[in-house]
Symmetry: D2
Subunit: 124 residues, 4 copies
């Protein structure tokens, strides 16, 4: 998944505002579902971010085309963890490990097969 | 209502990103309700933005404290119009006329007294 | 130019937050330059938004793919005006007329040929 | 430092969009300087986010007033680490450890006294 850096993504330092990388990663996660003709929200099931460990390695700039790579680290009953990396050509700008929990009616639940079918192939 | 300009509000041009002024105005509209102990969402009634006429008059910068002034221009059955101006000390940075429509279940409806009580005093 | 609606673009009303349409339009304006191998910032020349007249016609939702269409309305020495419309399939969600001014060192200046070459073909 | 949750901070799930907590924390960091009559950008010195370890513990909702508490964890020559926690009344919604590096001309440099005077009192 590719992302262009626009004005709105930058701040007065001339680089991408730090929390925008989390937005780019969320877009990439949603796109896993959309690109398969599915939705990240299904019969009340959806995911929320629970933990993030992030490293900001190199700055990205206005006009840059970034690539988000997503790998499955761990798949549990009601949660899963991803490694998401953002590259500018060969150089890595950002990486994060993110844990997401599956919720329905506000409570953690077993991830339904609708989602599992898309998560399992993300394994490296 | 006062608003501080933070990193997230600026872009690489070093000034406030243009659409952020609309966000500042929306905060000021919501605060009309919150500061009176009410909510802009009430029994399914809420408002959506329908029209905007905006002028960007002077730039605002990181760290600036801006003041949003809100005046009622017109009050109709199912909609109302505001003049919202954003000042940096004496200087006006931004002004907009915004028309909002009251919705319930996705359809325009008569504005309930719960909201009217707060809108009428905004008249200049 | 196509834009996907992600989580970050929506609000608790379940629809696209109103000022995000301005961001989508800004992306489309920047992409005019990027897609031609140019940049919207050139030798200190750049554009700032001066006026907006916007109509919010139909809501857009999470997962929607929107299309931004941009037409040149008027081209002056130091400024130009665009019509930008956002469609969801055949239905128009948003339209705005936006006036942009060319600046260098903070002052309005004649639009350089570098930009003119890309603006003129936008005429309907 | 208190932060109100506005429309723009929520997503269609009805809760605060996850990366917005990072924005709230950044506002609190900037306010450390602003409230002392200083700026987070001084003679070319400024800070960039290097690492984040974040936990999303409880959701926050439209209209909530959140409080950001900031404590110094470690102060080094060219960097420092903070614990930032966001509370809704007594309940903690979010916590993160964030490492920031002091830059000048794009390179890590010794934190100048101008900043140190404000960081040291943040020690618990």
């Amino acid at each position: 998944m590719k992302v262009r850096v626009y004005y709105e993504d930058t701040d007065l330092g001339g680089i991408v505002y730090h929390s925008k990388y989390l937005n780019f990663c969320e877009r990439a996660r949603s796109e896993i579902f959309f690109s398969a003709g599915k939705s990240p929200i299904y019969q009340g099931y959806h995911f929320v971010v629970k933990e993030i460990v992030a490293n900001f390695e190199n700055p990205a700039f206005f006009g840059d085309i970034l690539e988000v790579k997503t790998t499955l680290l761990e798949l549990k009953n009601a949660s899963f963890s991803l490694l998401q990396e953002i590259f500018k050509e060969e150089k890595r700008c950002f990486k994060m490990e993110v844990k997401l929990v599956c919720l329905k009616n506000g409570r953690p639940v077993k991830i339904p097969p609708y989602f599992l079918d898309l998560l399992q192939p993300l394994q490296n």
